[in-house]
Symmetry: C2
Subunit: 638 residues, 2 copies
C-alpha cells in the first residue's frame, strides 16, 4: 500500500487560481461564510431559525433560554469554523479570523469540566449523556468539532480549539474503547476526525479509538436496538425500528459487499475506513473499501455523482434503483463522495477514484448552491417540476428552487468547507511521484522542493499548461491524470511530443524538471452522449449529455414547457456553443435540433403523438434553477 | 335531460350469465363474502384485526371491551351487507341471508334511542358526536349503512335495516340542513345514499338534505378549519392542516373545473351530484359533472381507469401527473369511477361514459383482488418491483403481492358489492330505448315487458348474440354500444345486414322485436398499441397494449428479470395467443418479438446497450401478481 499523504498539507501547499473554482471560492468566502455566520446567529429574516450560536451561549452560561434545533445543531458551527480555517489559507482575513476566535472562545466556555462538549445535552438533558448513541449525535458533533480544531490549528497555528477537542476526545476515549464502555457512534464522523487528530498530535490513543469504532462496527447488529431497550427514556423519533443497515451496523465492514443505509453516514465511515486501511497497511480492510467503492460507483450512483436515491432514510436502496424525480442525492452525500474518493486516491492512486471525485465536484456537490451562494439545495433531483414539488407529495426537502436555510442545515456548511478546502484535492504526492488529479488552476509546492503551476480554462477548454517554477534538483515523476471520459489527449514537453508511461489512469513523465519547462496537455472536449445501464428503470431509453466532466441538463427556461415531450434523436448533432460569460456566471451551453411531441388532445390514443423539430439547449446541471422556477431534466428520451 | 333510471331495478331485472364475470361473481359469493365475514369477526389468523362486528356488540351492550379500529370501521359491515343483498339476487342462499339478518339485528341493537348509529362514538367518545365532521366519518358510515338498508330491502323485501337507516337519517336530518346546524360530511357518501333512500321511500326530506349537502359544499372553504378551531378536542390526525381540496370543499361544485383531492371522496360526491342533477333537471350542475368527467378522464386517469395518482392524501395531483411506479390508484377509487360513470350514463346515455366504466370493470377494479378472491390490492401500481416495494420507501400499502386484509379495509367489501351488483351496470332504459352498455352475458327484463338475452365470450371473443326472448308488443329501440376503441363492427338482424342509427356511441335498432329475433354483433378484437399524451412523463416513449377493453401487462414470470431492459419496436407484430383456460383462470395472452438490452457492465457508458431479440408475453393487467412475486409493467419502451 502506497505512502499516506495528509490531506491538509496539500491545502497549505497549493494555491488555487482557477477561472472556474476561484469564482466559487470567492462566492463561498465573500458570501456564504458571512451569510452562514449570520444564519447561525439568527440574523437572517424569513429563513429557518438556527439558534446554533445561542445554544452555545446558553450552555456557556452567557445567555438564558431554551435549547432549540436539532440534536446535532452544534455541528453547523464546527463546519463553519472548518470552512473559515481553509478560507484563511485561500484569502487571509483578520476580521473573519477574529470572528472564528470569538466562536472558539464561546465553544471553550461551553465545554464542561470533564471535557464533555455538546450543547443539547448540557442545556436540555444533562442526565442523558451518552445513553442514546444511535440517535443523539454526540460523537458526530465531537467529530466535526475535532475536524474544525485540526483545520484551524493547521491553518492559523492557533491551538485553542485543538486543545478543546483533545480534551473532548480524551473524555470520549476514557469512556469508550476496549475494556471500557462498549459503544458505537450512531452517525459516523468521529472516526475520520480521530485519525486527523492522531496525525496532528501523534497520540496513538486517537488512532486506537478510531480503529475500535471501525473494527467493532457491525459486530453486533443488535447493538443500537439493545441500547434503545436498555435506557428508560425515548426520543420522539425512536431508533428501535431503525434497521441496522441505516447506520451501517448490519455487518462487519470487512464483510460488506454493498453500500447501505444513510448515504452521508456511509461516506463518512468509508472515508475513515480507507484512511485507517492505508495508515495501518490493512489490505483486507482496503479490499472492503474497493468492493464498496465498486458497488457504489457502478450500481448506486447518479451520473452527477449523487448518491442515496431515496428520501426514506436519506439512503441507498438497491442496485440500479436511481429514480430521477424522487432522487434524493443529498448535497452532503456528494460532498462525502469527494471525501471518500480523496481518501481512496491517497491510499491507491488510480484515475477511477479521481474521475468520480471530479464528477462530484463539477456536478452533484456544487448543484447544492445557488450561483450567488445564498440559497441551497438539500436534495438534488435529476428531473424536477415545480408543480410536482409544490404539491408536496414528496418530502418537503424536494424543491425546484433553492432555499435560504434548512431546519437541518448540514449541507451549506459542508459545501463551504469542501470548496474552501479544494486545494487539498488537486494534487498529491506518493514517494517520488507528484500526482495531478484535477485540472484546477493552481500552483503546488511539492515535498521535494519543486514548484509547478497548472493553468487552463477547464472545464470549458481542454488545453492545460503545466509550468515548472522550481525544480527539485533531481529527477522525479509527474503523473497527470487521463480522465476516463477522454480517449484523445495530446502531451508535449517543451514543444516536443512526450513519451509518457500509462499507469492506472495517469500519464507519468519522469525527468529532472527545470524551471521554465512547459508541459502542454490537451484533452479533447466534445459533447458526448451517455447511456445508463438499462437496468436503471428511470433512464431506460434515455440519453444524457456530458462535455468533459460536466453533466448537462435541459431546463424549461430554454426549452419550453412539458420537457417529457422532448426527444433527442440518435443522429442529431450536439454542438457546444461558444463560452458565454453572461450566461450563468459563464458556461459553455450545448445546442442541438431535437423533437417535440405535440399532444393531439387525447389522454390515450392509438397513434403516437406527431413530432416537430425544435432547437434544444442544455446547460450545466450544477447551474440549473438559477433563472427562476422551472422544469428540468438530465435524462432525455432518445 | 333524459329520464332517470334506478340502478337497482336493473339488478333485479338482469340475470348475469357470463363466462368472465360469473366466475368472478362466484368467487366473490363463494369465497370473498364468507372470507370477509370471518375477517370482520376476527376469525382469520395472521391478517390485520378488524374488530368491526365486536365493536357493534360492545355498542349494543352484548360484549365488553374497548373499541378497536379506524373511526369508519362500521362501514365495512355495511358494505358487506350491501354485497350480500346483491349476491342474494344472483344466488339465493338462506344461510347467508340468516347471517345478514343476524348482523342487522346487531346493528339495530347498537342504534341509540335517538336514532344515532356509530359504534366509535357510542363506545368511545359519546360526548364528541357530530363535532368533528371533517375527520370522524359519522355521515360516511351512515351513508354506507343507508346504501345497505336500501339494497337489502330491494333484494329481500325485508325492511328492518331500512327502518334503522330511516331513523338514522331522520336523526341526521333533524340536526343538519337549512335553518339547522350547518354541517358537511368530511368524507362524502351520505349524499348518494340519501338519494337512494329518497327513491325507495319517496320521502322528499332525504332529497332535500342531499341537495343541501351538495349545494353547500365549497361555499365556505374554511368550514372544516373553523370546525377544528371551535371544538376543544383533537384527534391525533388533526384536520387543521388538511387543505380544503382534500375533501372537495375548495369551491362550490358548480364552479369546479378539475377533480381534486381524495379520489374516493371525489367519486362518491360526483356520483351523488350526477344523480341529483338528473333527478332535479339541473343542467348547470350536470355541466359541472361533465367538465369534471372530462378533466378526470382526459387528464388524470390511468389507462386502467385507476385514479388518484399519489399516496399523499390518496389524491388527484395535477393534469398528466400519472407516475406508474408510485401510482396509488386505490381499488376503491376505480370502484368509484364505475359509480360515477353509471350515474353519468343514466343521466345522459353516451358511449364515452360506458367506455370508461368498462375499462374500470375489466382492469383497475378487479386488479384489486386475487383470482381466488382471498387477497387484495389497496394500491394498483402500473409498474412494480418487489425489491422496490420491500424497501418500503413508499407507503406500506404499496406491495407487489396482494394482502389478506388491511388495517383500512375499505377496498375488499367495495369490490364485493360492485361485483355482486354488476347486473345494474349492463343495461339501462330511457324512454323507449333499451341500452346495452356492457357486453356481459345476461338476460334483461325490460320495463315494456320485452326480454333479451345477450351471449358471448367477451372480452376474449368479439362475437355477441342478442336473442329476443319476449317482445314488447310494440316497436322499441335497442341501443347497442359501439366501444370507442373499436372502429370495425358488424351488425346483422336475423342474418341480414342491419341499418343502425349511430347516436352518441350507440347503434340504435328500432323494430317490433319478436321472440326468436337474433342480432349478431361482431366487434373486431385485435391487439392494439396505445400511446399516452406525451405530457405524461412516465409514459413518454412508451407503449401499452390493449385488446378490446383489456389492458395488458408484462410480468417477470413471463419475461425474465429487469423489465426496464425490454423494448417493443414499433414494427413488431403483436399476436393474440389462443384462449388458454389453464392460464390465470382463462385468458387470451399476447405474444410478440421484442428486444432486450443487454447490460455491458458499466453503469454509465458512451454506447447504448446492445439489444437481442426476445419473445415477450403480456397478460391481462387485472390478473398480474397471481403467479408469485415479480416485476410488472404496463408501459413498455417502444
Amino acid at each position: 500500500m502506497p505512502h499516506k499523504v495528509d490531506l491538509f498539507k496539500t491545502v497549505k501547499d497549493v494555491s488555487v487560481n482557477d477561472p472556474f473554482f476561484s469564482r466559487i471560492q470567492n462566492v463561498v468566502i465573500d458570501q456564504m461564510i458571512p451569510y452562514q455566520k449570520r444564519a447561525l446567529n439568527d440574523e437572517i429574516p424569513d429563513v429557518k431559525k438556527s439558534h446554533c450560536i445561542e445554544n452555545f451561549r446558553i450552555a456557556a452560561g452567557q445567555s438564558t433560554g431554551e435549547y432549540y434545533g436539532r440534536v446535532f445543531q452544534d455541528s453547523d458551527l464546527a463546519k463553519w469554523i472548518e470552512a473559515v480555517a481553509y478560507s484563511l489559507v485561500v484569502k487571509p482575513d483578520p476580521e473573519l479570523e477574529a470572528q472564528a476566535d470569538e466562536a472558539i472562545d464561546l465553544i471553550g466556555a461551553a465545554q464542561q469540566e470533564d471535557g464533555y462538549l455538546n450543547t443539547y445535552f448540557t442545556v436540555k438533558e444533562p442526565e442523558h449523556r451518552w445513553q442514546n448513541l444511535a440517535d443523539c449525535h454526540e460523537m458526530y458533533c465531537a467529530g466535526h468539532m475535532t475536524e474544525a480544531g485540526v483545520a484551524y490549528y493547521l491553518a492559523t497555528g492557533k491551538d485553542k480549539l485543538l486543545k478543546i477537542v483533545c480534551r473532548l476526545c480524551d473524555h470520549i476515549e476514557r469512556r469508550f474503547g476496549p475494556g471500557k464502555v462498549y459503544g458505537l457512534p450512531g452517525h459516523e464522523e468521529i472516526e475520520l476526525a480521530l485519525l486527523r487528530l492522531y496525525r496532528v498530535t501523534g497520540e496513538k490513543k486517537y488512532l486506537d479509538l478510531a480503529k475500535f469504532f471501525i473494527d467493532e462496527r457491525g459486530q453486533d447488529p443488535e447493538f443500537f436496538i439493545k441500547e434503545a431497550k436498555n435506557r428508560g427514556w425515548k426520543r420522539v423519533k425512536s431508533d428501535e425500528t431503525t434497521p441496522p443497515t441505516y447506520m451501517q451496523n448490519h455487518a462487519p465492514i470487512r464483510e460488506m459487499n454493498t453500500v447501505e443505509g444513510h448515504a452521508v453516514r456511509c461516506m463518512y465511515l468509508l472515508t475513515a475506513v480507507a484512511d485507517l486501511a492505508a495508515e495501518t497497511d490493512d489490505d483486507e480492510l482496503f479490499d472492503a473499501c474497493k468492493r464498496l467503492w465498486e458497488n457504489m460507483t457502478e450500481r448506486r450512483m447518479y451520473i452527477t455523482a449523487g448518491i442515496g436515491s431515496t428520501a426514506w432514510g436519506e439512503a441507498f436502496t438497491r442496485d440500479f434503483d436511481l429514480p430521477n424525480d424522487t432522487a434524493y442525492a443529498e448535497t452532503c452525500a456528494a460532498v462525502g463522495v469527494c471525501f471518500f474518493a480523496r481518501q481512496m486516491l491517497e491510499a491507491e492512486p488510480d484515475g477511477r477514484y479521481a474521475d468520480v471525485m471530479e464528477r462530484a465536484l463539477y456536478n452533484g456537490t456544487i448543484s447544492g448552491m445557488q450561483l450567488d451562494g445564498t440559497k441551497f439545495f438539500y436534495v438534488n433531483q435529476l428531473e424536477a417540476d415545480p408543480h410536482m414539488n409544490a404539491d408536496a407529495y414528496y418530502d418537503e426537502e424536494y424543491s425546484a428552487e433553492r432555499t435560504g436555510w434548512y431546519d437541518c442545515a448540514c449541507c451549506p456548511p459542508n459545501l463551504a468547507r469542501l470548496m474552501t478546502g479544494l486545494g487539498g484535492y488537486i494534487w498529491s504526492e506518493s514517494g517520488d511521484v507528484l500526482y495531478s488529479h484535477l485540472f484546477v488552476g493552481s500552483t503546488v509546492k511539492a515535498g521535494n522542493g519543486a514548484e509547478i503551476e497548472l493553468k487552463g480554462n477547464y472545464p470549458w477548454e481542454g488545453n492545460l499548461t503545466y509550468t515548472v517554477k522550481k525544480g527539485a534538483g533531481k529527477a522525479f515523476k509527474l503523473a497527470i491524470r487521463q480522465p476516463g471520459w477522454c480517449e484523445n489527449v495530446k502531451l508535449t514537453v517543451n514543444g516536443a511530443a512526450a513519451e509518457a508511461e500509462e499507469v492506472a489512469g495517469y500519464l507519468v513523465l519522469e525527468r529532472d524538471w527545470q524551471p521554465g519547462d512547459v508541459i502542454r496537455y490537451e484533452l479533447e472536449l466534445t459533447p458526448v452522449r451517455v447511456y445508463a445501464d438499462p437496468r436503471v428503470r428511470a433512464d431506460a431509453g434515455c440519453v444524457a449529455l456530458m462535455r468533459g466532466p460536466v453533466v448537462y441538463a435541459f431546463e424549461g427556461v430554454d426549452n419550453g414547457p412539458d420537457l417529457s415531450c422532448l426527444r433527442l434523436p440518435k443522429d442529431a448533432a450536439v454542438t457546444a456553443l461558444p463560452y458565454d460569460a453572461n450566461l450563468l456566471e459563464g458556461v459553455v451551453a450545448l445546442q442541438m435540433t431535437g423533437k417535440r411531441a405535440v399532444p393531439d388532445g387525447g389522454l390515450y390514443g392509438f397513434d403516437a403523438a406527431q413530432e416537430e423539430d425544435v432547437t434544444l439547449k442544455a446547460v450545466p446541471y450544477y447551474a440549473w434553477a438559477n433563472r427562476g422556477s422551472n422544469q428540468m431534466r438530465v435524462w432525455i428520451r432518445e
